[in-house]
């Protein structure tokens, strides 16, 4: 560690204590809501339903800054996380995440049953629900939502099919049993079917037929808030759906604005124009914490920020070198000084928010430059300039450039020289998925629900480029366990498989796990009952302003 880094590290410790104090203080201001996890200490358990005390009250207009103007409000075509927060108020699925947990609870379906062979699921639908345009919700509407996205023969297929590709490849079809019963048939067993089916949002078939290409500007669903107005590039306005099946939603109106520039985001919040800002930066966290009128609401996620080493590149073909990399990185400084505790240290691929988290991963590596040097010596490592790729301007990559500089310094200290090659985010995405890539920063941002999304997303045979297995690492035992994890109907077997996979990743060390980002919302103290969901869901039906 260089002298400068020591200095930064020292100030950061003071700052971290301040951050903790401020977060707890803000929590207390919000009438002692225990659900608001103080930064740096929270885990998924902090937000259990028992701990949630909701305040009585209703009304008000809530303005939410989602950082980007929505691309479309057709839920079947949205791409960005920003927009998903808007469409989640308008549309619903058959099931949803139980608030404060990663468990499934009924939404548009009231009950369900899995066939003994695991190859079909039958859902009983909620009766008396209507879409915002008055169209009745029934089994035909569910089938329509499915067909629009997955059946090339469907009249509206080209307008719907888009963003949910192979993650639904286990589905073979849907069938209307009666008005309020629908059956899904599977081509292969998929044990997390219930979680996935929540992503299938149900749209009003009549509205799709009526608006066609412009359905994205006239969205009609069943959700707690209904679409009112969209001034493009400015704001989307939603109004309360008094006929919502779940009771009367609290807010009169919800306005979504997409402010891009970080300084302008803070200004809009401080001037009172905005009451909730999603995905705020570490810098904005600090600015808001200096102000009594705001709090930072934060929660754990299933995201991973890591270094991917290309195992086909000579230097990283040697396990000892990859282990040395894992010993060389000072994660504590990265998380506390660079990210000011807006993330938690990562020891393995899965965050502790996953039910199948294996604490054994914590025993594999610690920050130990001497051990790293020894391992490099054993491996007979010949120092050559490794190209280390770093993206610019991707908020998902947190402070990518600052992180890169500290990591470069860490590696230099043990005798690994790197040249940082920065590139604009999309260019970088192309560069890292080529065999020439040696070493890169990476992140994978998912909810802590399906471990398969992580394992299959960044380290499987199926996700070799053009997918995102930029380590080019493939392991037979891991692949077998991956299949068990997806298809086995024995819960214990699945859990064991995922726990073992975490160990394999750390034994083989194709990546250096660095941190798990936290969800971060800037929230005005006039907002009540807003909580960070571990699933990343954005529930506003019982939030009120006053």
């Amino acid at each position: 560690m260089s002298e400068t880094m020591k200095a930064i590290g020292a100030t950061a410790i003071d700052r971290r204590d301040l951050v903790k104090g401020a977060a707890i203080g803000a929590g207390a201001l919000a009438a002692g809501l225990p659900g608001i996890a103080p930064l740096a200490t929270a885990s998924a358990q902090d937000a259990t339903p028992e701990a949630r005390v909701l305040e009585e009250g209703s009304g008000g207009t809530l303005v939410v800054d989602i950082n980007l103007d929505p691309e479309t409000l057709d839920v079947h075509q949205t791409l960005t996380a920003a927009t998903s927060n808007v469409v989640a108020q308008i549309f619903e699925g058959l099931v949803r995440a139980k608030p404060g947990t990663v468990e499934v609870e009924p939404a548009l379906a009231t009950a369900w049953e899995q066939a003994a062979d695991g190859l079909s699921w039958t859902f009983t639908l909620r009766q008396g629900v209507t879409f915002h345009d008055g169209t009745p919700f029934n089994a035909a509407a569910v089938k329509f939502a499915y067909d629009r996205q997955f059946d090339p023969e469907n009249e509206f297929y080209p307008l719907g099919q888009w963003t949910l590709p192979s993650s639904f490849d286990f589905l073979a079809g849907t069938e209307v049993v009666d008005d309020y019963t629908v059956r899904f048939t599977l081509s292969k067993t998929f044990n997390k079917f219930l979680y996935r089916i929540g992503d299938l949002s149900i749209v009003s078939p009549d509205a799709v037929a009526k608006y066609r290409e412009t359905f994205g500007e006239n969205p009609v669903g069943t959700g707690p808030y209904l679409f009112q107005q969209w001034d493009k590039g400015q704001q989307v306005v939603l109004a309360r759906n008094d006929a919502w099946w779940g009771g009367t939603p609290t807010l009169d109106q919800v306005v979504f604005r997409g402010i891009i520039e970080p300084g302008a985001r803070t200004a809009a919040m401080v001037s009172g124009d905005v009451q909730i800002a999603i995905q705020i930066s570490a810098e904005m966290v600090q600015q808001l914490q200096g102000n009594d009128a705001y709090r930072v609401v934060s929660g754990p996620t299933g995201s991973l920020w890591f270094l991917a080493m290309n195992v086909e590149f000579p230097a990283f073909a040697d396990l000892k070198v990859r282990q040395a990399m894992n010993y060389a990185i000072d994660k504590d400084t990265l998380v506390s000084a660079v990210l000011t505790d807006t993330a938690d240290i990562a020891y393995g691929p899965l965050s502790p928010a996953f039910a199948v988290y294996n604490p054994k991963v914590e025993e594999f590596f610690s920050y130990d430059p001497d051990k790293a040097k020894a391992l490099l010596a054993e491996a007979g490592y010949q120092d050559s300039e490794i190209v280390f790729r770093v993206p610019i301007g991707d908020p998902n990559m947190l402070a990518a450039e600052e992180m890169g500089t500290v990591i470069q310094d860490n590696l230099r200290a043990v005798g690994i020289t790197t040249t940082i090659q920065s590139a604009e985010a999309v260019t970088w995405m192309d560069e890292i998925r080529s065999p020439e890539n040696e070493l890169t920063e990476m992140s994978w941002n998912i909810a802590p629900i399906l471990p398969d999304d992580m394992f299959n997303g960044i380290l499987s045979k199926a996700s070799l480029p053009p997918g995102f297995n930029t380590s080019y690492w493939v392991d037979d035992e891991y692949e077998e366990l991956l299949a068990i994890g997806r298809t086995s109907l024995d819960e214990q077997e699945v859990a064991d498989a995922y726990k073992r996979m975490q160990e394999i990743v750390m034994e083989q060390a194709p990546i250096v796990p660095v941190c798990h980002r936290r969800s971060l919302y800037g929230v005005s103290n006039t907002v009540h009952n807003f909580l960070a969901e571990p699933t990343g869901a954005f529930y506003l039906y019982n939030v009120w302003v006053g």
Partner: protein
């Protein structure tokens, strides 16, 4: 005159063709493509099959020259294509965005013109005085100060500290009155207009000084005309010719270069559209946006040349 204009319009065509080829190849040859972005949007695993399917849906499975010809063919029929990310036709999007940018540019111009020309003339008349030096200092500051920093400074001062003007957007939610629109326009128009105002002022000053040293001005003064009359009647029109050229160029700058101001003030204009389009590799949007700005730029230049010909008869016969 008509022939002159016609000739100029015909000259536009090769420029436009080159522009389209340039924009198209820049985008398609640069690294990064919308397909991976779409498939990776939700960080779900995807396969080569998914990749090929989306490529086909976007018409990106064909060869580049083929894609270019299809695009140009559609443009000639008035079809700008569909945005990859917004999933709707680009034509109406361009209209919405152009309107916002035009309002902003006009606001900036209304701010910049009187201040720039007035400041330049006064500073020339008071040449060497403390006022001249003061105006010059402001001009240098105006040119040097980055627009986005000025924008943020104005936001903090007027929006956050004094709370007299809105911090961003084009209208308040639920209010679209003229007054509301004007209030939203003030800060971005000033941020955008300061640079052009300074450039216009500097040019007006030097142009004015040159005119004032001419013989016919001395003659006018010798006739015993008041200095105000000399400036108004004899000098001003001649000062306008070079100033007009620069104003024309500045309008082009205001239309294409309002990017930073638009982003700082969340102003839903062309600049913001194109920048987002580049970041999302929304090829059809960027292509259409750049094409439209190029056409406007060329048209404004043409317009300036025509006005030039009106103001200065020598141009017509050159």
């Amino acid at each position: 005159m008509t022939r002159y204009i016609l000739r100029r319009i015909v000259q536009m065509i090769p420029v436009l063709i080159l522009t389209t080829i340039f924009v198209f190849s820049m985008l398609h040859l640069a690294p990064g493509d919308p397909i991976s972005l779409i498939l990776n949007a939700k960080n779900r695993p995807y396969t080569q099959e998914d990749f090929d399917r989306v490529a086909q849906q976007l018409g990106m499975d064909k060869s580049l020259p083929m894609q270019y010809l299809t695009w140009i063919g559609n443009i000639l029929q008035g079809d700008f294509g569909t945005s990859i990310f917004m999933r709707r036709p680009i034509g109406p999007i361009l209209v919405e965005r152009m309107e916002a940018t035009a309002v902003l540019a006009l606001g900036a111009l209304i701010f910049a013109l009187p201040i720039g020309i007035g400041g330049g003339i006064l500073s020339a008349i008071w040449r060497g005085s403390i006022w001249d030096k003061l105006i010059n200092a402001v001009i240098v500051a105006g040119i040097a100060f980055p627009t986005f920093a000025l924008g943020l400074f104005l936001i903090v001062l007027f929006g956050v500290e004094w709370k007299v003007l809105p911090v961003g957007g084009m209208t308040s939610f639920g209010d679209g009155s003229l007054l509301d629109r004007a209030q939203h326009l003030i800060l971005p128009a000033i941020s955008l207009g300061v640079g052009p105002a300074a450039i216009i002022a500097r040019l007006t000053r030097s142009s004015m000084l040159e005119v004032l040293s001419q013989d016919y001005i001395r003659t006018a003064r010798a006739k015993g005309l008041a200095s105000g009359v000399v400036v108004r009647r004899h000098a001003f029109r001649n000062v306008l010719v070079p100033v007009l050229t620069v104003v024309g160029l500045q309008v082009g700058f205001l239309l294409g270069g309002a990017v930073l101001v638009e982003i700082v003030f969340s102003w839903p204009g062309m600049g913001e559209l194109i920048v987002n389009g580049i970041q999302q590799r929304d090829f059809p949007v960027v292509q259409a946006g750049v094409l439209v700005i190029a056409v406007i730029f060329i048209l404004i230049n043409l317009l300036v040349d025509v006005i030039y010909a009106v103001v200065d008869p020598r141009v017509r016969y050159a």
